[in-house]
């Protein structure tokens, strides 16, 4: 039984579309409302028991703007599948899959950090790499590639360091 037949059997009743991918990996496209159910079926009925990553692509200025991508690996069948779902740009939100794949928690946090996509139901959804009170999302296409205040944390640290310094106090008096 080929990959696509196994997926078609497992996803009975879910609307999905097989899309061509450049590298030849089996890729299916679903709506964002069906994504959770699709992924649950892929895990339970098709044997994809490992989540490789959760990430997104910014198609700005096209709408729907984001293309969310989950990739899954099946050890039993030595097989991979990628699931794509379009997410609107005005209030980007997606269902979390950490109840199905706990390992996706960090991927979803990174995706939130870089694109600002809110994973609904993720309990610990906070920034992973950027400062926690940062207002921008670096991998969005309208983010300047040299960044917005990239040195802010360093400047804050530097200010505190100078405030602590006895030499600085000496020269101020």
């Amino acid at each position: 039984m080929s990959t696509i037949e196994r997926i078609q059997a497992g996803l009975e009743g879910v609307t999905f579309k097989v899309v061509p991918s450049r590298e030849g990996m089996t890729t299916i496209e679903v709506s964002i409302t069906d994504a959770k159910e699709t992924i649950r079926r892929l895990r339970d009925a098709c044997g994809f028991e490992t989540n490789t990553f959760v990430t997104a692509v910014d198609r700005h200025p096209r709408e729907p703007r984001y293309e969310l991508a989950w990739q899954f690996l099946s050890y039993r069948h030595n097989d991979r599948v990628r699931v794509h779902a379009a997410v609107r740009g005005d209030a980007p939100a997606a269902p979390t899959i950490i109840d199905l794949f706990p390992g996706a928690a960090y991927s979803e946090r990174e995706c939130f950090d870089m694109f600002g996509i809110v994973f609904e139901g993720h309990a610990g959804l906070k920034r992973l790499l950027m400062p926690e009170d940062y207002d921008h999302f670096p991998l969005r296409k309208d983010f300047p590639h040299q960044g917005i205040e990239p040195d802010r944390l360093y400047r804050e640290w530097d200010r505190r360091r100078r405030e602590r310094s006895p030499i600085a106090e000496e020269s101020e008096s």
Partner: protein, 206 residues
């Protein structure tokens, strides 16, 4: 802001004979026993290791005693890409090194950010550190860094520590008020929040 003075032993006439002789002795000792702090941040660190190793052998120039405690070093070699997250650590290490101390920016990443024209990378370590020598290359060959060490030795020869000590001159490029290096930051990096955000097509037009 403190006033910055640069002393030059060879041009001033009031330097005593004793001071200049002792200066030469001190500089001779300093330049031939540079102890590097190997801040190997990425691939330049490999070339740095090759430089310290037996093939290129910087012990010929007295600089082989790499110490992994900043308290024992006087030459900081920033070898590799410095990110803004690492910047605090790099500056802390620099501050912990005892005077006199020198900095070599090894490779284009630490010199200018290199190919990482990015929000996460420091666009040149001279934004946060006073740099004495820049070594171009990606990564530079060990010979290039050895050449930088030889040039640094020439630079150390021109310093006059004892004369400055006797005259009470403040040497160095420190701003006393802020304790910061006063060289202007690299202008290519936006540091304000009012940075213009353009639509995707607009960046290509500029």
């Amino acid at each position: 802001m403190g006033s910055l003075k640069h002393a030059d032993a060879h041009s001033s006439s009031d330097a005593g004979f004793l001071a200049t002789r002792v200066d030469e002795l001190v500089n001779w000792g300093r330049k031939n026993s540079l102890w590097p702090m190997p801040l190997g941040l990425s691939c330049c660190g490999i070339e740095l290791m090759a430089m310290i190793g037996p093939k290129f052998d910087i012990s010929r120039f007295g600089a082989e005693a790499a110490r992994f405690s900043p308290r024992q070093c006087d030459l900081m070699i920033v070898a590799g890409t410095l990110t803004w997250k690492m910047a605090e650590a790099a500056r802390t290490i620099y501050d912990q090194m005892p005077d006199p101390k020198w900095v070599i920016a090894m490779g284009v990443c630490s010199s200018s950010g290199g190919m990482y024209d990015s929000y996460s990378v420091v666009q040149g370590v001279d934004m946060i550190l006073p740099v004495d020598l820049y070594v171009p290359g990606c990564p530079p060959r060990p010979d290039a860094v050895i050449d930088a060490i030889l040039k640094l030795q020439k630079k150390i020869e021109r310093e006059s520590p004892i004369k400055n000590l006797m005259a009470g001159t403040v040497v160095g490029e420190y701003d006393e008020g802020t304790q910061r290096f006063v060289r202007a930051p690299n202008q290519a990096v936006p540091t304000t929040s009012s940075h213009e955000v353009l639509a995707p097509g607009e960046y290509e037009k500029r």
